[in-house]
Point group: C2
Chain length 117, copies 2
């Protein structure tokens, strides 16, 4: 596949609801919304709903963008996160997205590079 055909643009209004698949191909949840760094123009987090999959109930969990990969054939994101990774993630304040310490610890927890470097 040519590089140019691998681009896959979606509106910030439409990305909500995109399916997320686990590494075994099962539908494990959906994107509730993305958190975007306005300064760099990079997506920082996918805030995911698991809808009862992974035993995680209806809550929403911010997952670093680096844990997701878009699969153009599936038309959705793929991730290898596990239930214990999500439940074991650092506790967050309501304004977790403005808490640099939480951001650092969360990226370390998931083992992904900092999006702000």
């Amino acid at each position: 596949m040519e590089q140019s055909t691998q681009r896959n643009l979606v509106s910030s209004s439409d990305v909500n609801g995109t399916t997320v698949y686990g590494s075994d191909g099962a539908n494990i949840g959906t994107i509730d919304h993305l958190m975007i760094d306005k300064v760099s123009g990079k997506v920082a987090y996918a805030v995911m709903g698991f809808g009862g999959f992974l035993g995680l109930g209806e809550d929403h969990f911010p997952v670093p963008w680096g844990k997701l990969r878009y699969d153009t054939e599936k038309g959705g994101f793929v991730t290898d996160i596990t239930e214990s990774q999500v439940t074991g993630a650092p506790d967050r304040r309501d304004d977790w997205y403005a808490d640099p310490d939480w951001e650092r610890r969360t990226h370390e927890h998931y083992g992904v590079p900092f999006y702000w470097m």
Copy 2:
């Protein structure tokens, strides 16, 4: 300012409506929505409404993300685009966001690096 405090996260649900200022500081329009490259997680375009400013009426115009800079003090984006740049931009199809040739020509027109490189 520390690098960590320059991060400024916004939800994909809330970015719509953010003000865009011209290089002279005037309010010239708003973000209608962003177009995000799902593969790279980078914002590719700001689709802007000019609301009559710049003589551009109520239509929406996709502007390459590289033309905008987020100003944390203003709480909005700043751009140096001009009316003639916007009106002189390459004609677009309804599915311009899936037209690699239009994307290339538009980035060249605005003189900004390709987001997909």
